[in-house]
Symmetry: C2
Subunit: 322 residues, 2 copies
């Protein structure tokens, strides 16, 4: 059995694991992300990989990065929360580790993991929508991860939902992300509580509006608390409008919903499915996609990165010397 190491580098945490050919994690590590120094970030990745490879036949390393990864998957050209430097970080890591290293956008890696080992197994054409701090996504088209012409496809959170709507850090206004992310859920929950419509949430937050979080809404929604369920139903209606536009373009057979917001389960899935049934272009005259909840949770990114690296056929001999 050969293994691959997957490293999911987020804005605050690095999660890494030793992953087998069936996508199972045999060992894992978790540490703070060095945020401001590209050398420290690279050293932290090297260290965690060296720990995990001890005593195992590791074939490759996949690094999932929250940011825009260049089309050749050697460098990160834009990341909002981390300093990666301008050098081809994959080549630098390869030189230090003497192992093939592949970079991948973290949402792409998660989508790939769900396709290979999670909710999307056996489905050739699928889209993952990750509802977290922002809204990300990944496309598996004809059983291949689709990265686009410049490597930055699948930014499904940035289709426009409301013209001149809420401002978005991407520089536009009204992006889907501003209405269906955990951040949006938090904002909507605080607004509802401010109007007196969410006493249980306010109580859960110790009476302070600003301490209400999306996670609290998710927890209360799971337990069927009406004020939280209502927040989810509203979010689902907006999410379905966005998914309907994506379905017009991509016609996936399956849409996988992941990220923290999706942890509410049926409270998200059911109203999204219902709204989508009538939101789809030509509904009734064409087949629509199935909708499913992601199965791999926060592990999807590292599992997918490991699997992509294992299959990437990168040769250590081709690294640039550094």
């Amino acid at each position: 059995m050969t293994y691959a190491v997957g490293v999911d580098v987020g804005g605050t945490k690095i999660a890494a694991g030793l992953v087998d050919e069936q996508g199972r994690i045999l060992e894992r590590r978790r540490l703070e992300s060095p945020k401001y120094d590209a050398d420290e970030l690279r050293d932290a990745i090297v260290e965690v990989v060296e720990e995990l490879r001890q005593g195992h036949d590791v074939a490759a390393v996949g690094v999932g990065a929250a940011g825009s990864v260049a089309a050749d998957r050697r460098s990160v050209y834009f990341a909002p929360h981390l300093e990666w430097g301008s050098e081809p970080v994959a080549d630098r890591l390869m030189a230090k580790l003497d192992l093939p290293v592949v970079l991948e956008n973290d949402a792409n890696a998660a989508a790939w993991a769900e396709f290979r080992f999670g909710a999307g197994q056996g489905v050739d054409d699928q889209m993952m929508v990750t509802l977290g701090t922002g809204v990300g996504g990944g496309l598996v088209l004809d059983s291949e991860l689709y990265r686009g012409g410049h490597g930055v496809a699948a930014e499904v959170g940035h289709i426009n939902l409301v013209p001149d709507g809420r401002p978005c850090p991407c520089g536009r206004r009204g992006c889907l992300e501003q209405y269906a992310s955990g951040t949006a859920l938090t904002r909507d929950a605080r607004a509802k509580a401010a109007e007196g419509g969410a006493p249980r949430l306010l109580h859960a937050a110790g009476g302070d509006l600003e301490d209400i979080t999306g996670t609290m809404v998710t927890e209360l929604a799971k337990h069927g608390e009406p004020e939280a369920v209502e927040l989810y139903t509203n979010l689902a209606g907006l999410l379905a409008k966005g998914i309907a536009s994506l379905v017009a373009v991509l016609d996936p057979t399956l849409v996988v919903l992941g990220g923290g917001v999706s942890e509410a389960g049926a409270v998200l899935l059911q109203p999204t499915r219902e709204a989508l049934a009538t939101e789809i272009t030509g509904h009734g005259k064409r087949p629509g996609p199935d909708l499913a909840l992601a199965e791999l949770g926060n592990d999807a990114g590292l599992i997918g990165a490991a699997d992509l690296a294992r299959n990437a056929k990168v040769q250590v001999g081709f690294r640039s010397d550094t």
Copy 2:
């Protein structure tokens, strides 16, 4: 040299041609579409193919259809303007012609033609947006025509642009098609003329508002007539908003604009390009697509259908016996 016959079956006209391996049309036919009877429609296609194949080594027949083509490309499962019948029309045509026959959505076929022989040659990842009576599209991803999980991808005219906006025949409201098609251009021109803002257009229409057409706007815009240019600038701004959402999802290297509205040329291309530069998610931090005008005009559908059929490896021996 072997040839293929391409047949573009629209709601009112059938255009057919004998096409060589370089996408050149050697001979062509044009006839009315039999609209209401699937047998008559099939017979008309057979007749035009028989005429065009006389004296030539024809390898295959491609039929482009304005409608939803099933994923296996044997039947049309929904067409708004034509009666195709529920049988696998490709198999019926194959049995009559004793030639391999492939069906394709007409906008997909046009996108393929532009990729192979037109504005998109050599570009692996591209999207065509066809601005005609409606707004259609086609996706070439990784140098392959992408059809989606059910065969109905690339309905780029049906992403939502304006929530609760203008009603669309697709059953939703506010689709891009309602703001960037020739139909939309006609409607906007009449509204402008009704307010006294388009005297030249009104004059061109003989003084009758209802006789103003999108084609008239296109002609006047080509000649730099300010009232027509203004209508185009408005349309381009809305089109750019739609394209920006599509770019977030697909990240194409090139967007090809086709259809009758695009015949205005630079009057469409320039303002669309300018608006798109600031509409793209993360603009300035990521590469955007080039924008180009289609080069094959109304011939794109039949050229693309012929080329797809030539490369489809459909075997006559596999036809169902009918």
